[in-house]
Symmetry: C2
Subunit: 416 residues, 2 copies
């Protein structure tokens, strides 16, 4: 007998038949003698509909087709209704199937969050009442994606937030594990749409998964992996539609026996490169450049600084999310005098490819294999960035598939 | 400067354009210097959609088309989301128009109710935080129809409950008046669809409105009139689409100068008549009959007992809502032995017509005019029931329109 949290995303609860299927999976766990909390997303499509309504309501002039930015606290009130409906419907279905269940909304659990409406951060889940109900044998059906901000206002966690809700609920009730049911059957060595020989991983360490998620693998939201890691919640990713096949377990590094040099390969196309030429090579210039970008809310990722010919000038290159490129350029232009660069060039046709593996800590020459493999394929590396367990390179976007496939083979990840 | 509560029903907030129109009406009140709380229903159609989902989720065997009875607490969670969405959207629209506003859900106000989920009764509105916000100049947009039951579970008030929410909120914040915006421009002397000469009433007393509502006039929910009367909240009914035309004020009896004998004529087709023949005329027989009906949740309305020929037997006739007829007959049949009646007959082809007026207290012969008017038209009166300010008669349903028109003329209510 174990206490488990289960999480089902929007496609898993897209209509009443699928909700019934989900109820069946929950019932199965209860019949195995487990205590269960289930976290659900909104029915697929509902959140988009609600978001569109909020944008339309916010149009300042009332002209059809024009959009505005809605009051974020009220945006949360409207959008959170989607998960409320699903949690109620699943609780009704479970009760009709003879499984005692009740819904818990974010404010009822409570899932306490920061006041950053629309992208709130979970700060605590003091779920003692819910925990007692679960321990008493009642299934808790928790509305995902939502919480309660200071002042008892409804908050939402931002897209993908239901994963985070699930792991936080698992931690809050002291669950033995958290099962994330989704439309894929686990975490793969890389994106199977690009590499048909990609393999499902039976296990992956929290640290690796964190890098995979933040580097573009979209199976889990980054924050959910952070919370799982911090609270040491064993977390499984598995398929709603084939729950008995496979799955991937996120676990502590120590629980992984065979540490390959590289566990997975991630990529991201949401990249743009900015180069400032002939920047004065003096103290304070980096602050003059990155200060305005931070103020404008631009997330700078990779940074590289080259020495230029004449010694007192330097070229500075960095990447930003493609969607933030124009905002970044505007921020730099407004401070051009203070920066004193020669010219600013940019390129939105770039992509980031990363190799990830805890084995890098103990294996030598891992990065060298990456560089030589790309070189053999004639792929130019524009920027390199490394951490303890990953190496990322920026390349021209057109080479992404080629690069990922070549690296997948080079690191021995191809399925037999 | 006044503090006012405004209420808008489902057709008034049916889409984002109408919500914008409503926001314009709210803004106008704010610009007049008034402090405003607005109560909104769900967008027209939304509640029906949500209710259908709960029924489908509750089907025990999962067969398409079959329905079940959903867990009522979870039903409330699902259905209350409709008003949550509207309140958020209206708050967004108001803020976009430059009017400071925030939404308040039932549990946030809080609107405290009984635990009778699906048909909860408002027990208190300790709205001090909301009152302070309204007094500070912020528009409160309250989700109607919902409240919070003991144990912080979401509750709903049953159909039409948003009227009740509005009056309760008005009382809770000590509003100077409550304006109920609807799709008609006020309360009429009778149903204008039947009597083209029906007139809009400028004023009606709470007591009369209570009778009108409970006798079939569908402008306001009965419970909302009760709360308005108990808390002495001046309440206006007016049109969302022509807010500057007319309207009807519900007020204290003393505020009505000219007290006509009859103020309005109501009718109800939701009636069925049951007659028990040759019931033993002895103590306890009424209890033997009406006890089982009460246990079965049947609302008995008019009751009349005739003396039968042979002295020790009596005929008993009463009415029930037409929708409860089969339930009533089943309850009587199960106790037929205890009752000992000769035969049970029933008739679903009946209707109730009522005359209402506080003037009856001081005018004589008011009922006699009703009886003679119906007699002249050849309409047979089957049952009569009276109270201090109304007379109701049961007649064959086919005569309803004729009876209402004749009475409207007889009591001098026709428009010039």
């Amino acid at each position: 007998m174990a206490t488990i949290a289960m999480k089902f995303g929007g496609t898993s609860v897209a209509d009443l038949d699928r909700i019934r299927h989900v109820a069946g999976l929950v019932k199965r766990e209860v019949e195995r003698g487990n205590k269960v909390a289930v976290v659900v997303s909104a029915m697929a499509g509902e959140t988009n509909k609600l978001v569109a309504w909020t944008n339309e309501a916010a149009r300042p002039d009332g002209a059809a087709g024009s959009h505005g930015i809605p009051d974020q606290r009220e945006y949360d009130v409207v959008v959170a209704s989607g998960e409320q409906v699903t949690s109620g419907l699943l609780a009704i279905t479970l009760n009709a199937m003879g499984v005692k269940a009740r819904s818990w909304l974010g404010w009822q659990v409570p899932i306490e969050t920061s006041a950053v409406h629309g992208a709130a951060r979970i700060e605590g889940v003091p779920a003692s009442a819910m925990k007692a109900a679960v321990e008493g044998g009642e299934v808790a059906v928790v509305a995902g994606f939502q919480g309660v901000a200071p002042g008892t206002r409804i908050s939402t966690l931002g897209r993908g937030g239901s994963d985070t809700s699930a792991v936080a609920v698992a931690a809050g009730i002291g669950a033995d594990r958290c099962d994330i049911y989704t439309d894929v059957d686990g975490v793969y060595t890389t994106d199977p749409r690009i590499v048909p020989k990609a393999r499902r991983l039976d296990k992956i360490s929290f640290e690796e998964m964190l890098e995979m998620a933040s580097l573009g693998a979209k199976v889990l939201q980054t924050r959910s992996v952070e919370i799982a890691m911090l609270n040491r919640v064993p977390t499984r990713v598995l398929s709603t539609f084939t729950p008995d096949v496979g799955g991937t377990l996120l676990c502590d590094e120590e629980d992984i026996v065979e540490k390959k040099p590289v566990t997975g390969i991630a990529y991201s196309r949401d990249e743009a490169k900015i180069t400032l030429q002939k920047v004065p090579d003096r103290p304070g210039v980096a602050a003059a450049i990155f200060g305005p970008l931070a103020d404008a809310g631009v997330n700078v990722d990779m940074i590289v600084q080259n020495v230029s010919e004449d010694g007192d000038k330097t070229d500075l290159t960095f990447t930003v999310p493609r969607s933030e490129l124009s905002k970044a350029l505007a921020a730099l232009e407004s401070r051009a005098d203070a920066i004193g660069a020669g010219a600013v060039t940019h390129d939105a046709g770039v992509a980031k490819v990363s190799i990830i593996g805890i084995g890098m800590r103990t294996h030598a020459g891992v990065a060298q294999t990456m560089f030589s493999t790309l070189s053999e394929k004639g792929i130019n590396i524009q920027v390199i960035s490394t951490s303890e367990i990953k190496v990322s390179v920026l390349i021209a976007e057109e080479y992404v598939e080629l690069a990922v496939r070549a690296l997948h083979t080079a690191y021995g990840l191809d399925a037999a």
